[in-house]
Point group: C2
Chain length 286, copies 2
């Protein structure tokens, strides 16, 4: 049997003591699934139907009192495609069942609180698929690379994150975390493409080039976050993202597999069908 996406893209390791070697993972790799864009597009139609059916059941389940939800966490360097995943993968889902949260630099008020304070407020409610566009991982990524807090503070956060995500699991939120893995060459091309197109200038920020200069520091910070915070309850997946269509296919597949394992169920009605049918038939409005 073919390997699932969850088996294929789970961050390698299996031991928290072995460093994650991101450089050994090919950002242009296609180990399973479609070999070209048109095959991926055909697959996406099926994935849409798979995701849609389970999402509706998950939503319905919550109307019947169910507590389960899903949280898809997206992290990646600038231009890695977090926005594209929201458009093309989250865009498959009925928006009624979707809850998107984008985390930019924290405000002064947010910085005055614990780093998880603003995150907790955006955890998806029951029945929803939540998407975090950046997340609490920024607090061990940019915060670490830019030394925004002392090392002893950010170093303690890995365990705080694990405790937080265990809490989410316990309350019924299934967490899946995707690192959108791109090569520095691909990033340069995408940044240049933004400069070429005036309708993309709003996405261009000169500071992204400053962050790019610290590429290896960021990769090291990612590698440590992946190693310390990959758990069976809240696994990390490394998604080859140099090809946009493959990235979308992988994440849609991870989401479909996750929803299928949850197997949400439409709740039974707490009414008598024959009685209700009679009430409707008798209620003739003239």
């Amino acid at each position: 049997m073919a390997k699932t996406a969850r088996e294929t893209f789970r961050v390698p390791g299996g031991s928290r003591d072995v460093p994650v070697d991101l450089a050994a993972l090919d950002p242009a790799g296609r180990p399973i699934g479609p070999k070209d864009k048109s095959a991926a597009e055909a697959d996406m139609v099926d994935l849409d139907a798979r995701i849609d059916a389970r999402q509706e059941a998950l939503y319905a389940e919550s109307v019947g009192g169910g507590q389960r939800a899903v949280l898809l966490v997206l992290q990646g360097m600038d231009t890695s495609g977090k926005g594209g995943v929201i458009r093309h993968v989250a865009g498959m889902v009925n928006p009624q069942g979707l809850q998107i949260a984008s985390f930019t630099a924290p405000t002064e008020s947010e910085r005055a609180h614990h780093f998880l304070w603003r995150i907790r407020k955006r955890v998806p409610v029951p029945g929803r698929i939540g998407v975090f566009d950046r997340s609490h991982y920024e607090d061990v990524l940019v915060v670490r690379v830019e030394s925004l807090v002392p090392e002893q503070i950010w170093r303690a956060r890995y365990e705080e994150i694990n405790a937080f995500e265990a809490e989410l699991t316990e309350q019924g939120v299934t967490v899946l975390k995707c690192m959108l893995h791109i090569s520095p060459q691909e990033q340069a091309e995408r940044l240049l493409a933004r400069l070429e197109d005036p309708s993309k200038h709003w996405k261009y920020n000169p500071r992204d080039v400053d962050a790019r200069a610290r590429w290896h520091d960021y990769q090291a910070a990612y590698a440590e976050a992946l190693r310390r915070c990959d758990t069976d309850d809240a696994p990390w997946y490394v998604v080859p993202s140099d090809r946009k269509w493959y990235r979308n296919w992988v994440i849609a597949t991870l989401l479909a597999e996750t929803l299928e394992e949850l197997d949400p169920q439409f709740p039974a009605g707490d009414f008598d069908i024959a009685t209700e049918r009679a009430r409707i038939v008798e209620s003739v409005i003239t």
Copy 2:
């Protein structure tokens, strides 16, 4: 030139002194646009592109400091298709640019506040297309029909709503309000269909049949809300909704026309393109 959807479906009247006669408006009418479902589906592809392009520009405009947003208000009897519009019309929009709020019966805490308190919290932020699935109009609809507050209270609300919507206009939020107009016969069929399909039981609520028994009271309440709260800044549209595909086509067209009139613009970058290009080209990561 063909009439626009905004001209065609604007609630008839032009005078606040003349009652709105909903019974004279055909819920199965198709005064403009596609004559069948397959023609509508072809149109929807174009509408998707029209909406998508403007939505992205609206979002981008807000990144550049723009304050404009759009608010689509959906009201209608049970089964009229508010959920279907969210799935099929709001589902066209990049979810990043969407902000959906569903207003069910207010909680005790919400009831302790002014009726607009919970509404104001959900007004779309700049750059977003907001969708209200039910809205502040419930406070002059169900509240009136079920006598949940004294008449002098709900009667004062029409002017409070107009003042609130004028405020929205002033702060840059373009409001369009759609009443999904269905016939009582169509409602009976849809309620029966929900009973027939166990995967739709979660949508069935016996109280919907109680509300159905007060059909004419609800129509009268709608007619008065449409008459008193139809303004040039926040117009009411009556959308023939007995055919789902036509309902979706009308609302997508109203949204496209509204966005095209707004004509949002991509903001110019505040950086020097040549400088940035050189910085990227020079930042070779090995």
